[in-house]
Amino acid sequence: MPKKGTKKGKSADDEPKEQNKLPEHLEVQRTRVVCKADAPTEGFQYAGAFAAMGIDNSVSVDKFCKNFKVMVNRLTEDDMEFDMIGIDASIANAFRRILIAEVPTMAIEKVLMVDNTSVIADEVLSHRLGLIPLDADPRLFEYISENDVPNERNTIVYKLHVSCKRGSPRLTVKSGDLEWLPEGSQLPLASPAQSGDKQKTYTSFGQSQKDIFEKPLGVKFKDITIARLGPGQAIELEVHAVKGVGKVHAKWSPVATAWYRMLPEVVFREEIRDDAAEKLVKKCPVNVFDIEDLGNGEKRAVVARPRACTLCRECVMGPTGEQVELRRVRDHFIFTIESTGALPPEVLFTEAVRNLEEKCERVISELS
């Protein structure tokens, strides 16, 4: 199928680049957001914005693929920072929204309380339990719906049985005290009809989860405080964890945070020298500026670390307001993902992309 977008992109690209240049102030308007002391100024984004000057502002798939770039800056077990260059804010935002609300994880959903004599109320305790990150890969599980029987493919069962003896000091219950039950629930549902029958419980596991999953499905962090018990108090309960998405409840969100910011760009409209330069360097809380020695006692301010800029706008308020210009690059995003531990951050991002692709497919296949 000949694509009009593709054709259009070609013809625009084939033309010599020089001819296609906007005057500088308009180019800044097209590719940057300028941050004044009071508010940022917006530019134009649609395809024909600069058509009168013979500039094609439309973006075809080809153009996109050619210009798109990623750079990983930091990647650890549970946190990652990378740059995405050449995308629109709406795509970056879609990824952020999907990471926070639509990538599934496992979280504790049901708490079967047998005994709770601690000072912390049942519902508060349940809420705390729900928020504990579990070390289980959600991709290996299925969603459970209301009428489904909990089985080894959609539920993880843990039990918590702690008590503080009389006369002993206060006891802190940590998330590490949750004990994984790979065989399923141990709480009887009803007494068996005949004495020979197998005892029915709240779950019906056909197989031990130990045989299905390679590693034990524990909690991610063993040192989260769940409750404190005084002498003579006890907690006994069983919890069922299921798969879900952050949209339904934040406990299923796979990220602590996922955020992006546009790359800051600090430029001098005119040179700043000597005392003014010293003052400017002092003013910036994150040390964006440095002093350059020009010899014979003269000094000049230079922008050394623009990436660190937080856009606090301290430098555009006050005396240097006219000389410094703060901008953000419109299509360069510094994206940070902090995982809660169920999946490593880079996997989370690929999951998010896949999720968005699926969404697109759903939105199109069902038209007609």
Binding site: C65, I91, N93, K247, K359, V363
Partner: protein
């Protein structure tokens, strides 16, 4: 109590279509799409992608109400195109872009993983 059921946020109710299209009665080549159970995530990128199409004269979306889980996308195109065509094209393009984005990301990840091995 009277809280809406959780599943209502992503299950398309029976009898309604995921996507429906309504032609505008007064303007040629204009119409609006109603997409059930979607939100700003899809609405905004769809709007962006439509804006990139030189044949699209107008494109906008709205989420009518936070408790109505659907979006309206309104499209007005030039005569050589049609809203449905622009819509299909936009999503197909988006799909391809995401595909290449994913690939670029994975390549970059392998490159990053290999960096220590090469003695950086």
């Amino acid at each position: 109590m009277n809280a809406p059921d959780r599943y209502e946020r992503f299950v398309v109710p029976e009898g309604t279509k995921k996507v429906s299209y309504a032609q505008d009665t007064k303007i040629m080549n204009a119409g609006s799409f109603t997409i059930e159970r979607e939100d700003h995530t899809v609405g905004n990128i769809l709007r962006m992608q439509l804006h990139r199409d030189p044949n699209v004269l107008f494109a906008g979306y709205k989420l009518p109400h936070p408790l109505q889980y659907k979006i309206n996308v309104r499209v007005h195109t030039a005569t050589q195109s049609a809203p449905t065509q622009a819509y299909t094209q936009a999503i197909n393009d988006l799909d391809k872009e995401l595909e290449s984005l994913k690939e670029a990301f994975e390549n970059e990840k392998t490159r990053y993983d290999e960096m220590p091995k090469q003695g950086y």
